[in-house]
């Protein structure tokens, strides 16, 4: 260790003198290290989140199965049975899926009361439910972001309307309004997705509004306004990119709630209606077969639970990634 204090020197000048560098509380910028943007940091944290990764895998697996097994549009099918053809009932329609020794068998999820392959039916239902959920997730996120950002930035009547609509949902349960609209929509999945989007955007809009309100007070936004930046640029360049975490997390959770909402509506006969099918409708149809053919009840229920659970865990992982404040420290 060297003794580098020189008592005879005049007062050290503050700018960039060697002494100042040595005793600066500021870390010098380490230019050798790789630079990470906020987005890259979030991605890194997200991919290290074990729970979220498992959930992502489950979700991708279920989605993949639902769309490839019985096919969708141009996606070819690899499962040799369809969800509308009834076949001969084998072994009382019991599922042939077995874990040990592993076998898939003829009808892995069993057959329904008239001999339709239940795996194909469940996959069809999952497919329909996923389409509705993701469409609603996308549409309501777009709608909620626009309304929330406008309400938070311009205040005024947009905000007043948003707050009153939110109040409305405290008084009319979401399910009730959705049921009325669902009945009007007439049972097709696309019209159902559309009306569900109309009732699902308020939560996200409220969150975005709150975030925008607090961001507006941040000094970098004030600074941008002070140099004469236009509102559009302030919103899209400075405010919205900083709310991306809230938006993505909230969109994920909207997907989870929509899965549950759609299946509940279909269960009540106000959602997807025959001849099409969805997971909720399957449960509704076979709830009375519970004592005789329990698998008709279990499979669609477990599908809903699996999707909702993995989407919720995914949302939690995203929240942790975007908000490292809540990150678990070594304990």
């Amino acid at each position: 260790m060297t003794d580098n204090h020189r008592p005879d020197e005049p007062d050290p000048t503050p700018v960039a003198s060697p002494v100042e560098e040595a005793y600066s509380v500021e870390k010098p910028i380490d230019l050798s290290q790789k630079s990470y943007s906020q987005g890259q940091l979030v991605r890194r944290r997200f991919f290290r989140h074990k729970g979220a990764m498992v959930s992502l895998f489950v979700l991708v697996f279920i989605t993949g199965m639902a769309f490839t097994s019985i096919g969708y549009g141009i996606i070819p099918s690899w499962w040799d049975k369809t969800f509308y053809d009834a076949g001969a009932t084998v072994d009382g329609g019991r599922p042939t899926l077995q874990l040990w020794p592993f076998q898939i068998g003829e009808h892995p999820f069993g057959q329904d009361t008239i001999g339709k392959d239940y795996f194909a039916l469940t996959m069809r239902g999952t497919q329909r439910s996923l389409i509705v959920a993701f469409t609603v997730g996308l549409l309501s996120t777009v709608l909620g972001t626009i309304v929330g950002a406008a309400a938070g930035f311009y205040r005024g009547w947009v905000e007043a309307i948003l707050m009153r609509v939110t109040d409305l949902f405290i008084i009319i349960p979401l399910l009730v309004l959705a049921a009325v609209l669902g009945k009007m929509a007439g049972g097709g999945i696309w019209s159902l997705a559309l009306v569900l989007s109309l009732v699902s955007w308020t939560g996200l809009a409220r969150l975005v509004r709150g975030e925008v309100l607090s961001l507006r007070e941040r000094e970098f936004v004030t600074a941008a306004e002070a140099i004469g930046t236009g509102s559009g640029r302030v919103i899209f360049k400075h405010i919205l990119p900083n709310t991306i975490g809230t938006i993505i997390v909230s969109a994920t959770l909207t997907i989870a709630t929509t899965i549950l909402l759609e299946s509940a509506l279909s269960f009540l006969n106000f959602g997807v209606r025959p001849p099409d099918t969805s997971l909720g409708l399957l449960i509704s149809t076979y709830q009375n077969a519970f004592l005789t053919r329990p698998w008709l009840f279990w499979w669609p229920g477990l599908m809903i639970l699996g999707i909702a659970l993995s989407v919720n865990f995914l949302g939690d992982g995203l929240r942790d990634a975007f908000d490292p404040r809540q990150n678990r420290t070594a304990d």
Binding site: A22, T222, A223, E225, I227, G228
Partner: protein
Amino acid sequence: MTTTTQSDSGQPVYTGSGTPTGDEEVVLGFSDVDVRFKTEFGSVHAVKGVDLKVRPGEVVALVGESGSGKSVTSMTAMRLLPRNATIGGQVDVAGKEVGRLKEASMRRLRGNDVAMVFQEPMTALNPVLTVGTQVVESMELHGVARGASAWKRAIELLGMVGIPEPERQMKKYPHELSGGQRQRVVIAIAISCDPKVIIADEPTTALDVTVQADILDLLRSLKDKLNTGILLITHNMGVVADMADRVAVMFKGEIVERGTVEEVLLHPNHDYTKMLLGSVPRMGHGRGQMGISVKEEVDADAPLAIELKNLVIEYQRLGKAPFRAVDDVSFDVRQGEIVGLVGESGSGKSTIGRCALGLIPAASGEFQLLGQNITGMKRGDLKPLRKRIGVIFQDPAASLNPRLPIGECIAEPLVVHKVGDRKSRQDKVYELLDAVQLPREVYNRYPHEVSGGQRQRISVARALTLDPELLVADEPTSALDVSVQARVLKIFSDLQEQFGFACLFISHDLAVIDLLAHKVVVLQNGRVVEAGPRQQIMENPQEDYTQRLIAAAPVPDPLEQGRRRRERHELLREQGEEIVELKVDGEQFHQSSQAEVVDVEDVEDVDGTDGPTSR
């Protein structure tokens, strides 16, 4: 365990006279204290073998900049560090070794033998409990008084620390008191059980300068009258000079210099101490400190950059009369001139700054900005004017968009006002980065990758992108450490000299204003108290308020500060104001705080499972 830094810093300098010898009474002693934090990025060595002792009736100041480990050191005495901390060495409080105590005994020690005064009076008190409940609490807990008698004693305590109408305040909630009063409540809580030592962690940092002086007077009378030992943790050398008997300077977890306050502040030995003291702008020393210079002559005929005539700014309030934040203010700023806008919190200084940026409309009066009246001007018309104005804000953490690379942040004004093309913008940014002494490579970095002072330099660069005629700087260095502040101020003054822009410099720090400004405007409660050339205001203030304000700012020289303190007390007496002190006789106080109730044995003896691990 290591006690030396890895860097090439100098050897620790222990000239330390005045350190207690072996047989003297010590109320708080740290020996070889070492703290490490386990984090997700590995272990952080926050405190590296600190030795320090505090006698009864003595103030020992632990000085250092952010990250020096001074607060962490003090928290080891309370054993209140987070669970991921590992503590080594030995801490003694009132003769008991803290590390060996069971959790229940430790709780009996806290508040009773050692009490704390925290930095932020706004958040240190529980917002949903009344002041009375919070004062009574620790007396009841430690058996000093119970029930009605505790309530009575709490009223006495509030009276002692100088809170008017204490009985009424007892039923109030913290948000109904001012910052200074809240800090007095915190002090009342701290002395309620007559502790042997008080740890004051930046007790005046969040307060206005006149309130700071009062609180320091109060703390000083504590040690004089009650013979309490005080460990004062601070970054402010003026506070040290005002309060401390002995000083220890901390840097990166180590004490690098210690001694009596005169030794350390007047004859520093260690380079770090010297640099630190050299970075503090001193009241009354005026120009030329720290190598900072400003061009003195301002062209008297230069056009006005800002001209305020009877400006009034109001905030609308729901269901109440609007609040008048700025009331009938007139002053002007010439081209090339730096005008310091000084005032305490609530004086309306920042509001005027925001009005100058066109962010808040004026209620009445005239605001001439670069020759145009902006009151009632439309947003669109304001834009060409904004091109000629730059702005710097206070908070380095919030003033840059975290999602934009630094280069884009600086180039933003060029993009907004459509100046130049891609290449010329990039060249301009490089030029500015050179000017604020940052490497050009930070162009593609993000704000979270650089530190506070560097971010503030980026803010300066952004403000100067369009070569503005006027710069509005709202407390640009208040959130920075002194050494960092010195560097930013130096860069700022160099650039001002070079570009000659006019500047509205808003600050609460009179010494900084003294260093930079040509003209000073003193504000109080939205009104101008006094305005004039720097020399006149700083050296010969006429108004009572200005005199008090200047007298209250401490200087980092114990002898000079002692003189200034006496002068301030005289001034207060002349003006008919009260000098704050503890209103009680020491003997009487000690007797009344003897435990009335016999200390009951704690039955729930959790053996140290909640505290940090000790080794």
